[in-house]
Subunit: 364 residues, 3 copies
Amino acid sequence: MSNRGYPLNAWYAAAWGHEIQHRLTPRTLCETDLVLYRRSDGEIAALQDACWHRLLPLSLGRLDGDSVVCGYHGLAFDPHGRCTHMPSQETINPAACVRSFPVAERHALVWVWMGDPARADTATIPDFHWNADPALAGRGGTFYSLQCEYRLVIDNLLDLTHETFVHAGSIGHDSITRAPFDVTHDERSVTVQRWMLDGDAPPFWARQLGRDVPVDRWHNIHFEAPSTIVGDVGVAEAGTGAPQGDRSHGVTGYFLAALTPETATSCHYFWNFVRDHHLDDPNWTEYLHYAHVNDGEGVYDQDKAVLQAQQIAVSKYDRPPFYNLNIDAGAMWARRIIDRLIAAEETPPAGEQASAPSVFARQA
Amino acid sequence: MSNRGYPLNAWYAAAWGHEIQHRLTPRTLCETDLVLYRRSDGEIAALQDACWHRLLPLSLGRLDGDSVVCGYHGLAFDPHGRCTHMPSQETINPAACVRSFPVAERHALVWVWMGDPARADTATIPDFHWNADPALAGRGGTFYSLQCEYRLVIDNLLDLTHETFVHAGSIGHDSITRAPFDVTHDERSVTVQRWMLDGDAPPFWARQLGRDVPVDRWHNIHFEAPSTIVGDVGVAEAGTGAPQGDRSHGVTGYFLAALTPETATSCHYFWNFVRDHHLDDPNWTEYLHYAHVNDGEGVYDQDKAVLQAQQIAVSKYDRPPFYNLNIDAGAMWARRIIDRLIAAEETPPAGEQASAPSVFARQA
Amino acid sequence: MSNRGYPLNAWYAAAWGHEIQHRLTPRTLCETDLVLYRRSDGEIAALQDACWHRLLPLSLGRLDGDSVVCGYHGLAFDPHGRCTHMPSQETINPAACVRSFPVAERHALVWVWMGDPARADTATIPDFHWNADPALAGRGGTFYSLQCEYRLVIDNLLDLTHETFVHAGSIGHDSITRAPFDVTHDERSVTVQRWMLDGDAPPFWARQLGRDVPVDRWHNIHFEAPSTIVGDVGVAEAGTGAPQGDRSHGVTGYFLAALTPETATSCHYFWNFVRDHHLDDPNWTEYLHYAHVNDGEGVYDQDKAVLQAQQIAVSKYDRPPFYNLNIDAGAMWARRIIDRLIAAEETPPAGEQASAPSVFARQA
Ligand code: FES
Ligand code: FES
Ligand code: FES
């Protein structure tokens, strides 16, 4: 039984689409170094970033057309990882290859499948259509490198009571900790829903609403295993029917969080926040961006400080489990689902191979 | 048998009294993170610096009256470590607590007991009354963080022949290595005494004495297990009876060293030097301070360089014991006493529990 | 069977002769800290850089004549490592010593024998006479610290096809990867020879030859176990008989590389390049030096970047062997010879002691 904290048979966000051009971009996913590049036909290639020959990172080489040429002795690999050129020899060793990974671009993100390629079904890429919805506006494309394992961020986003303590002064509010909440789940997802009725709005929301009146506020957080979260959050004038579905007197924002394990104690955080109001006003885009990301002062910066301090403690203490409060119901279910996915990869069905192949096992 | 290099059933200096105010101060003792703060009644609280809930350091939270509110989800703990508030729930899990540590303020220092609370007897706090003696003067309150284990500092202070080599030009003198010395010890303490009769005084002492005449010089170093040392050092005009107890023709200084294990390879060093002359002259206070602590040039700075280099070597080599010279007799006894204290904690008397409880075992 | 990647019974370059003066110079060889100094008679002493008493690096002490005085308690050691003075005691413990190492100065380099002193035969010091040949000129004495194990550098130098990819624009040329090459070896050495006939010269060589004409180019690389390489490289006007031994229409350079394991993942690289033309022109000396070593732009700087990136990958991946291409024949033989030398040290001949003594085992 491994100590991996993440399943491999999953689509993980590896980059924002705009990050990947016709040049070599290294990135580590699930403790595996990858090199990503856009081919001439616009598709994206994802290869293991270690030359078959003597392990030099391919990202230190160069592109020759759609092939990667190693920067040490010039072995060339095509976008499928097959070696197509060896210096000083005619015959190419057919075993010479680097692992290539299934990759797909969807909703502004580049998704890579780190597990068994035979199971890579693009129909299971997480739904992030809000990232590309013309009825919504945002700056998009923020990329964080967090020195904490990805599940700490999931815990964080599935329980927004922390806003009261970590984000007092912007989005925090006592009502969050007082309001009841609902947790539902199925085999792959968890939803946490909280209504805070007829309260005053915290500054962040009052400003978006444009008036400081009593509001009905909602948190509608949806987790999909193993590591994406969509938060539907907003406020409407109290008593105008938002809980019943009428948001015409309110404003809505969606936070879109794709988390990807980098190492056992770090993760990538592809984050976006989009709004349904003032779509064409760049000042609003900037304001909402800086409310989140702002040189250590934004809401996400505050989370980052807390999460990284928590990771240091988690790595230090051997106290085994976290203790859970009522507020942790959502995170608890998310972790159970993740654990089940990992366990399934480690106990292959009778008559089948384990589904998570060794990084070097595959031959061309 | 553990590899701990220090007993837990001991009062360790955690801070100078003036350092601890009504705010959260983190400090690590014996590989355990603590948060210290002064309560409204002036007493000091010492709690484990890791929230019961999800391990965030409590020192990242804030004080609410005399309670610590965790900076993540707002759990509140009273100065005894009992949880008094949980967000979004009425009933408080009675198991929710963080460990609190016995603490006492004495002779300008804050002492914390890291072991079995039932054995924490304030009568056994090391005698450091010189720190607060009106017949003595000094600047007080210097705090060092040393990247070496605390026993290397004890070795250092119990054998002052090193002054000749490490502190040539200030307090070093060949006579130290030539003079005979006496080592006595009992179950908890070691005393090393050395008289250097009728010699010239090194510059540090000649200046304090006010004249450059032959002196009788003494080193009177007293170690109390596990980690405090008081040095009674000084010079008197040669032949005026200092060895017999008449110091009226001399000057005396006391160095007061409280050492506290921080990790297995680092320690805190609470240091003070007080004198019995020119009590009201701040220039003397400054001179004596800078003679010890002076941007890498002072006596203690020189020790720090040597001790840290030694720790690097100790961590690297697996050559098991140090080899001992005659001059190491004091250090050798100190280490034996410490080893005995550690062993006693690991072999509980028949019918009793081990005296060093697990950090997380205690429940409210 | 140990995991050492280098034999101990070998002469390793420890320093350039000019580096070692009458002062204490620390340097780590084969994971052992040494302190080197030149004695009054011009000979060089090499002692373990850890005091017998309490491990303080002797290099933090000072020289007293030809003895090293420890900077902590003043133990003195003569150039053979014998303790000649102990503070505060008359009798010197005869076991008190630090290990001393056989050392010899030859061809501008200081060579140290890290293994069994009884086998240290100066006749086996690698031949580097080119370093001191009056018919050749160069700047000499360049010292590199590389964060990679020494065998990666040997791989690098024994296969110069990498010039084409790592050093395009200076010495790289497609012909290198096309030309056939010969590999020969015996028990202690490997030679890789490559002739590139009737091609154009890369800029580095065209400039030395003084005209841009078709050339016959040669690579003649000689490895001697465990870690020295001499490269005889050059060009001559095509068809003037260079392959048959007449270099009168050409220019020759020798690169002289002495590699020394520092730790398991780092090495020292004593490098020199000497030429057989324009012997008295310092501009040529500077030009050829900067072509190699130039703030990250020189040929050796380019190698350094590749080698260190490769070491990071080697340390990270557990994929056991490198895969070999035809071009790796020379490196493959070199590694086999090294492996055999290491194995021989670990299986002592019947009736004999193992030849690699423990660092601390020797007594005076
Ligand atoms: S390491 Fe890539 S070609 Fe040799
Ligand atoms: S970690 Fe302290 S309240 Fe959650
Ligand atoms: S450590 Fe060298 S003399 Fe004590």
